[in-house]
Symmetry: D2
């Protein structure tokens, strides 16, 4: 099981803490019938029954905390999940580090060559060429530099941190800890590993899923099976 995974150009997911186990989920479920853990021969079936019939409360008796570095726009999507707990870097308290996301050429060219990958463009868009993709990377890097320059200058001039930051693009990296019980992680993964989720957050979701696979192998096998 990896405890830290690098993602995108400057992001990562790092395991902070895990509680509970597949066995604890069974023990919690067995509360309803006044029995404890019976051994996996019997309880593998119970776990599958719970999962497949959406008896999800026993999956609240385990969980995981991770640390995440990701672009602000990824955090914006992530934090729509209101059942998680978050502690994030605050630009009111500290200047944000100058770390910014530049999508790779492959990522920008996602619609090229057909296939079932896709990402929405505006109606009258040209087809993206590799030349234009590279030009976007260059121009983006330049904008990040300009914004950072303005940001630092404003801070030095005495503009309050909470106002100097308004020029920071949503591609800037931020950092947080996120905690949820296993049930809510599975809900997050279901939405964010979906093929309609934006690729960036899917990579983070898959990294989180890998960590969960290490700690909850039987539950995650059920999750993985349900997606095929």
């Amino acid at each position: 099981m990896p405890t830290k995974v690098d993602l995108l150009d400057h992001g990562y997911v790092e395991l902070v803490d895990v509680w509970g186990s597949d066995e604890d989920i069974v023990r919690a479920a067995r509360m309803s019938t006044n029995k404890g853990f019976q051994g996996w021969e019997k309880d593998e079936k119970l776990l599958a029954y719970l999962y497949n019939h959406k008896h999800m409360t026993p999956f609240e008796m385990a969980g995981m905390i991770i640390e995440v570095q990701a672009p602000i726009f990824v955090f914006r999507e992530w934090m729509r999940h209101r059942s998680m707990s978050y502690n994030e870097l605050s630009a009111r308290y500290t200047p944000l580090p100058d770390i910014n996301y530049i999508p790779s050429i492959d990522r920008l060219m996602i619609n090229a060559g057909g296939g079932n990958k896709q990402a929405w463009t505006i109606k009258d868009a040209k087809e993206l060429t590799e030349t234009n993709a590279r030009a976007f990377q260059v121009a983006l890097a330049e904008k990040y530099r300009d914004c950072e320059f303005l940001y630092r200058e404003a801070l030095a001039d005495g503009v309050p941190k909470e106002l100097a930051r308004v020029c920071i693009p949503v591609g800037r990296y931020s950092r947080m800890r996120a905690s949820a019980n296993l049930r809510n992680w599975l809900a997050f993964l279901t939405l964010r590993m979906d093929e309609n989720a934006q690729l960036e957050i899917r990579l983070y979701a898959e990294a989180a899923a890998n960590m969960l696979r290490g700690s909850f192998p039987k539950t995650m096998r059920l999750f993985d099976d349900s997606r095929n």
Copy 2:
């Protein structure tokens, strides 16, 4: 730190799992300023600042799971706390064990002798005598017996479990696991250790608080100080 505590005549609280620590709470809080744990000399003040200024999200990065045996009426109050996770014995699946709560004479006589303890009686009630308190205990034990007799008979006669149980009094013991993060445990304790909470659930809350004191001594000192 006790891992199991007996309560009332047949109840208990048992520690199942704990995650995180006082130090992890500080680490989570330090996310906002991009710093880690700095040592308790400095961070004791930070923890106190967080707690006293109600910056409670870092306290969501730790938690506790307990197993509880308590009368149904206690569970009814407990489960109004919607931020906890629960798995409870179900009378639809298994006959409830014949374990019932009979309040002690001291408990029944709570209003005797004045003092700041009190519990509401109806308007035209007599003052409770020890004789009447004892008579209530005896009559209550008898009713529990009668109800159990009817329950078992109905079950044996083929009345579905989910219907045979309608005669069971709310003083019958049930059992559950309860999980919450530390922030939500503190919210629970604040309400249920309050002098206006019913004495039975206060005893459970105090037992839970004791377990938290073992795992989160610094946070719980802040909690205890805030109540004096």
Copy 3:
């Protein structure tokens, strides 16, 4: 649309308040694309798309409040839904009215004659006869009477209300108001109108569904279609 429906022998569901409409749900969903309501010709498809692809947040922009009288064991199941708001009669503050649930013969005989209706009995149970079902009704009424007698006597003798109530069976009726947004009502209905839910709470869920059908006809048609 009915505004009050009687259920079981002494229960009811009564409409208290409704907010929002099918159209408001569309308007909320259209926030994401910066457009308003476009007329049902176009927006009927949008509503169906949202529902069928589980984009449920727009359904949080409408809701319903009802008043419910139901047996305590029904409330115990209901209140496991932690996303609703509740205000219930409290036996600590006021003596509970002497209203009790006696299942009908048909209900008790649910397993008779096969069919896909069923309710779990204990392992070595006899097959329930109509004679035994009637005997259970009579014995149950008697137990309710005995418990009420003890309850009133204890209250008159000065036993605190919060303790005198421990003898009250879970078949006693209580009363509450329940509020939720439409998304959470639909989650409640999905679980509690399911054939595996206990029949009593299913009747309450169906009554709530009927009220929602009156206020949110298009959304509820999608819900109903998804269940067939």
Copy 4:
């Protein structure tokens, strides 16, 4: 009661829907004692008792939905309130309108002249002069223009919407609907009208409070009194 209020340079709060009333809150609270609304002479005291003793569940039986246009960094703070419902403009689906926040000179100079207003600057910052504040405004407007130019160009070139947006600064305006029950609005106001909250979100919180004052005058008087 205003139904739409302009805020900052391009923001607004607009009332969408309200449900319940001060009287409904009392009715919900009276569920616990099996009584209805008794007239304000008596129930004004009850409402105050509920509020001042933090019996907050009856305040969940009313609520408000608003539409908000605010800078992204304001939404980032707002959406940390996980008990609200949100539907927001999505840059994955539609290009964001070119509306951007430029703080006023007064706002930038918040630390000037002492007083109890304050906003954190970096350690070695100069004292902000009006000249430098004006220069920041000009440079900021220019950066917004540059970023918008890059954004439009990238969109036209076929960069997917979800990627072209990474250059957009957090001072860009977005739009959403937000719904919460009254209890959760009060929790939001308590934190976001606090003098430690960032001024921008305080203005939005105050606008929301004004709308609530129109619909829930008695509850809001209690809220206002508790803040003095």
